[in-house]
């Protein structure tokens, strides 16, 4: 650019604005941050607070109208036995799903990071991600077919001569049922299937950050592979497991579609919230129920932190 053109450029309004913003970085920062902060503050946190407020209202038993007065009456209702059973069932399911996801995801993630070639690793990434691109509902319903009495699992068990095993599993009280698609086992299997990618990806990310030299150093200092795994790899990858478990645990706590489509008619937090805010019209109780997963997650993360899950971060 010639000196004259450069001089001319200084005069136009855009250049002047640019110079103003350059000289006032705080103004620039405010302009850039205001829209996302508004979104976060008003729409996200605001609605959360509205939800929280709702849970302190209660429903008038006679009129069925929401009474907009602060009260712990709804929480008292939440703490009755049938509702506590729903909470316990949901938390137990979420814990079991999380544990199973971690058991399945860790070896897969470890293989992807340590052994797979670049090509195979890309393929495995696709294998983990592609199911996430297809409709969740379609996948849940296809599992209904897979798990049905006339479905492929029964067929396979028959041909492998393992029908007795399937029947033994279905005969387990509470967890079993007439077929996998009408049992808690079925609900569990589909939950694990749906959420396992959310466990694999954070563990892969955590393992990627563990330098190979740490494993070599451990072996060099006399640790056999199992000791290296226990003392070095697992502690360093654990924040990834915790990150993944936040997903699998909270997603299971809040889901209402899978327990509706697959399993027994036992209610979970998600299905209860769905029913209370819909047919029953008890929005305060629904709100109180949604507060439960938040408290459970807060307690869970506190315990995880106490156990040192984030020490390696």
């Amino acid at each position: 650019m010639s000196a004259a053109a450069w001089q001319a450029g200084r005069g136009d309004p855009i250049a002047r604005l640019a110079r103003y913003l350059h000289a006032h970085p705080r103004v620039t920062l405010a302009l850039l941050l205001t829209p996302p902060l508004l979104w976060l503050g008003v729409i996200y946190l605001g609605s959360l607070l509205a939800l929280l407020a709702q849970s302190f209202f209660y429903i008038d038993e006679f009129s069925g109208q929401v009474v907009r007065q602060l009260s712990l009456r709804t929480y008292a209702e939440l703490l009755t036995e049938p509702n506590l059973l729903v909470v316990a069932r949901t938390v137990a399911m979420a814990a079991a799903v999380t544990f199973a996801c971690a058991l399945i995801a860790f070896p897969i993630a470890y293989y992807m990071v340590r052994y797979a070639s670049v090509r195979l690793k890309a393929l495995m990434y696709l294998g983990v991600m592609v199911p996430l691109w297809s409709s969740y509902i379609v996948r849940v319903y296809s599992w209904k077919l897979i798990l049905a009495k006339e479905g492929v699992i029964t067929w396979l068990a028959e041909h492998l001569g393992a029908l007795w095993l399937l029947e033994a599993i279905l005969a387990v009280p509470v967890l079993g049922g007439p077929s996998l698609s009408f049992s808690m086992f079925g609900t569990f299997i589909v939950f694990v299937y749906i959420w396992v990618p959310f466990m694999i990806l954070p563990i892969v990310a955590a393992l990627e950050r563990v330098p190979r030299s740490l494993m070599e150093a451990s072996a060099d200092l006399g640790a056999a592979p199992l000791a290296t795994f226990r003392r070095v790899i697992l502690p360093l990858a654990f924040p990834g497991v915790v990150a993944g478990s936040i997903f699998t645990f909270s997603l299971t706590l809040g889901d209402y579609i899978i327990p509706k489509v697959i399993g027994t008619s036992h209610p979970y937090i998600g299905t209860v919230v769905y029913a209370q805010q819909g047919v029953a019209g008890n929005v305060p109780l629904a709100a109180a129920f949604t507060v439960v997963p938040m408290i459970v997650m807060a307690v869970y993360l506190t315990i995880a932190r106490r156990l040192g899950a984030f020490n390696a971060l």
Partner: protein, 348 residues
């Protein structure tokens, strides 16, 4: 050499990565208690050799012996060697104390003994009282010392050091050189030291193996390597070296073989200076002058073709002239005895 005195022996060892021969039919022995340097540019195979000793790699061909025992297929955790890694490889989730105790913890030694020995080791590397810190809270030099303490606590026969000072600044590097050497003498164990820094290799080691293209080009004491480089590569890689091709040598009357000569063996003189008996000379023009404080380095273009580097000491007893400047005509004078013939047919 008695086999009991040999700490490490390579017998025709090759390591192939696909088609690439990272280590190519290498044979050498490291004596017990020796400070042995493996020197070479990156990709020359020196680090792979170190990893072969540690057990992170296994030879494709040939055998490796530790104290006379064939360890070619023995995993690292069953070898009595320890490594100081280039990136230190300290466990980030453990304290300094836990890092240093790690080998003893793996061997299930009682906690009291672990603590005592870790304390001694931290004393040895001059980091007493640092046990409670995390590696992230240490400086580069301190991490280096922790890595050293951790590698030494198990009392290995051989300590492997992979460019251990590479990440430190110059001052610290010189301090650590002195300290490493002192620790090696104090403990009397074998050190195998990988570096691409010829200064480090020359100043610290008892013997140096110069690596190039996966092979050992020359193995000898630092003085042998520096004063009698056998190949053009060694002459060029270790120290500054002048290499005169056979054609130029012939034109200046220095015989018909190509040779190398160290820059400090050449004297700068005025073009009129007569050449003494047993001497040799070449006339040229100074192309550039680089001032280094204690020394000055001149690059001289020869009339006969080629260039020579000359290094002069900037002392008060510095000869007839204190300094020369670029563009001046000079006569370079040296003794024929300083010329080192280079083996022909060796690529640089």
């Amino acid at each position: 050499m008695d086999s009991s005195e040999v700490a490490v022996r390579f017998d025709g060892v090759s390591r192939l990565f696909g088609e690439v021969r990272a280590v190519d039919r290498v044979s050498f022995s490291v004596r017990d208690g020796e400070f042995f340097a493996m020197l070479g540019p990156s990709g020359s195979g020196k680090t792979t050799c170190l990893r072969l000793v540690a057990g992170f790699e296994h030879p494709t061909e040939g055998r490796i012996f530790l104290s006379g025992k064939d360890v070619s297929d023995v995993p690292p955790y069953e070898r009595n060697v320890n490594t100081v890694f280039q990136d230190y490889a300290l466990f980030p989730h453990m304290s300094v104390q836990e890092n240093v105790e790690y080998p003893l913890m793996i061997r299930k030694l009682p906690a009291a003994e672990r603590r005592r020995r870790a304390g001694e080791m931290l004393e040895l590397v001059r980091l007493p009282g640092f046990g409670a810190r995390k590696p992230a809270q240490l400086s580069g030099g301190q991490r280096q010392r922790v890595a050293l303490a951790r590698a030494l606590i198990g009392q290995p026969r051989v300590l492997l050091l992979d460019e251990p000072l590479g990440a430190l600044d110059l001052k610290l590097r010189e301090e650590m050189q002195v300290e490493l050497k002192a620790i090696q003498r104090q403990l009397g164990i074998t050190f195998i030291y990988v570096t691409h820094d010829q200064g480090e290799a020359l100043s610290m080691s008892d013997r140096v193996a110069v690596f190039n293209h996966g092979r050992v080009e020359q193995l000898g004491t630092p003085a042998e390597i520096y004063d009698h480089p056998r190949t053009a590569f060694v002459a060029g890689f270790v120290g500054i070296s002048n290499l005169l091709p056979a054609a130029v040598a012939e034109r200046i009357g220095a015989g018909s073989r190509s040779f190398s000569i160290r820059p400090e063996r050449i004297r700068l003189a005025t073009p009129a200076e007569p050449v003494a008996e047993g001497g040799c000379s070449a006339d040229g023009t100074i192309r550039s002058v680089l001032y280094y404080g204690a020394q000055t380095r001149y690059l001289v273009g020869l009339d006969a073709g080629g260039e020579l580097t000359v290094v002069t000491q900037n002392s008060d007893a510095g000869g007839p002239r204190a300094a020369w400047s670029a563009g001046e005509r000079v006569r370079l004078v040296w003794s024929r005895a300083s010329e080192r013939p280079i083996e022909e047919g060796v690529e640089t």
